[in-house]
């Protein structure tokens, strides 16, 4: 199913506040193709445009120029609702700050995207439980985020990102709030997901974190300056 390349970007540009004195060119003509099942790190210092690229890859924002085909779907011309549908079905997000809803249990947090996908109520708990056990947290399903460690919270977030079976997992500094050992566990989990056929895109400023990926794309001043493949994708 789906296209062989989950990400196809051509000449992608993003300008903030165009035509005003505050105009900022954040991305200038980026080309990038990511195949299904790759584990790619996008690395760059702050202000390099990597966050802008991450927002565009995650269909959280619309590009100013260029084309982006996300899992075969052309993003241009989608309205806010269309972009939301695309995120719902194609992209799982993992954030630096976990972004779990604090009043909900781990299980309820993981079930949240299932509600928006219209999955029948009785299937949800079962699917969420499976997603939690895939990240090794089956026995913590009924704990609140405040009762979980940082690493555990990030695993809940990963389970939530995966529960709708998206082809792309987009992780924005996922280890930024974790100690290095826990961070390594999260990166190992990503490698496992990659083996399971999920495309993992990791955005980071940290070269050591990027080393976990098969491919490292360096970005600077809104353009890709290096693209090195370290291992072959599975």
């Amino acid at each position: 199913m789906g296209a062989p390349n989950v990400v196809e970007i051509q000449g992608l540009g993003k300008v903030y506040s165009p035509g005003t004195p505050a105009e900022v060119v954040a991305l200038r003509g980026v080309d990038l193709v990511i195949a299904r099942g790759e584990f790619v790190a996008i690395v760059g210092p702050s202000g390099s445009g990597k966050s802008t690229l991450m927002n565009l890859l995650g269909v959280l924002d619309a590009p100013s120029s260029g084309t982006y085909r996300c899992d075969g779907v052309d993003v241009a011309g989608l309205d806010a609702a269309g972009r939301a549908r695309l995120r719902l079905t194609r992209i799982g997000f993992v954030f630096q700050g976990f972004n779990l809803l604090s009043r909900m249990t781990a299980l309820d947090n993981v079930m949240l995207p299932l509600a928006y996908a219209g999955v029948p109520r009785r299937e949800r708990a079962e699917r969420a439980r499976r997603a939690l056990s895939e990240v090794g947290l089956a026995e913590r399903a009924h704990h609140r985020p405040s009762e979980l460690s940082g690493g555990q919270q990030q695993r809940v977030a990963i389970a939530r990102a995966l529960v709708n079976h998206p082809p792309i997992l987009l992780a924005d500094e996922p280890t930024g709030a974790l100690d290095s050992r826990t961070g390594q566990e999260i990166l190992a989990l990503f490698q496992r997901l990659r083996l399971a056929g999920i495309t993992v895109i990791l955005i980071t400023h940290d070269g050591a974190v990027a080393d976990a990926a098969d491919r490292v794309v360096r970005i600077q001043d809104g353009a890709i300056v290096a693209d090195e493949r370290r291992r072959e994708a599975a």
């Binding site: 199913m1 927002n55 995650g58 959280l60 924002d61 806010a80 609702a81 972009r83 939301a84 549908r85 995120r87 719902l88 079905t89 997000f93 954030f95 972004n99 809803l101 009043r103 909900m104 949240l112 995207p113 509600a115 928006y116 996908a117 219209g118 999955v119 109520r121 499976r130 895939e134 939530r160 990102a161 995966l162 709708n164 079976h165 998206p166 082809p167 496992r192 997901l193 083996l195 399971a196 056929g197 999920i198």
Partner: protein
Amino acid sequence: MNARSESLSVHAAAAAGPGRVTLADIVGMAVFALRGNVLRSVLTALGVIIGIAAVIVMVSVGQGTQAELDRTISNLGSNRIEVWPGSGRGGGVRFGAGSVSSLDDGDVAAIRNEIAGVQYVAGQIRGAAQAVNAERNWNTQWVGVVADYFPTNGWEVAEGAGFSPRDYGGAAKVVLIGTSLRDKLFEGEDPIGRQIRLGRVPFTVVGVLKSKGQSGWGGDMDDVAMVPLETARRRLAGQMNLPPGSVTSISVGTARAEDLPRVEREIGDLLRQRHKIPPGGEDDFTVRNLTEIVSARTQTTRLMSLLLGAVATISLVVGGIGIMNIMLVSVTERIREIGLRMAVGAGPREIHLQFLAEAMLISLGGGVIGIALGIVGTLLTSRFGALPVALDWQVIALATGFSVATGLFFGFWPARKASRLEPIEALRHQG
């Protein structure tokens, strides 16, 4: 590790085409959000609670008062003018007892013949007597009446034949009794054809009057005995020292309500002329347009209902603004949550619906509590406030509709604001 990888790839391949979030889920999310701060939710709903409770009490009291007035109007009979002798009812010291017998059959005939638009004219005399049936007796009011008295005053005969033309002309000793008098004298027996005495005079009961209940002035209208006018003059009015042909009041009915003011004025002119009252002299009679008095009271009640309705509307609007206010605060507080929901796939529509559902649940919940309080308040008003109330399901349905509409109207703008947030900015929001 391998086994787990396999299971993951199976799931990745199993992704089916997604459906839409259901309304039940949206409501569930809204309930969950509101339960997060119960106190705030209840306080937010307070304006609607008070507004709806006020609506219920006010509409119930308004309708009760209106219903009582309607009953009074229907008891009044047709469009009715009443003429009494004497100028000062309660201020009679000035003219003394001599003015009591100032009206007579000539006045009645003149009104009938000389004033246009008059449909019924009835002169009657009234008095009190002890009504007796065997060992039961009761002090009651009697009225000597002519045929026009019944339509003019809204009386009907419920049982029995009533008076025949011969009864009026021949001064027959026949009587119609009200239901209260019947109950006192007969206690469930059939009174038709039986004999009773008024004072010492025996009468045959020829009918029972249809009940009118309480009068607008508090008396029991059914405690009454009616006899033909001539009979009353010859048999009952003996000690009243009435001049021959005199009546103690005249009832006038017009076919059309708009004739009432003119007819009232013309009766005054006619009687002044007939009684030879000089210009500027004091009248020896009083003309009252009863229908006008009641409709004035009706208008007062309408005005009061309108005023109370305005108060209720204002409190609902204030309650709605309270909801809008808190919902705007809630949207601002929950920007990151909104961003997250958008990131995991909620579109503008889903976010809009959720916040709209929250606003509606607050105001609907407030409405339900307000209805309960309003019903309690209405019952307390009727018990301790001595006000007539009419509580019906329509008011409750109306109040429920109002509360939902309040939530929809005042929740729309905050919900729209939430749905229009940019996902990136919402996610990055510090707060």
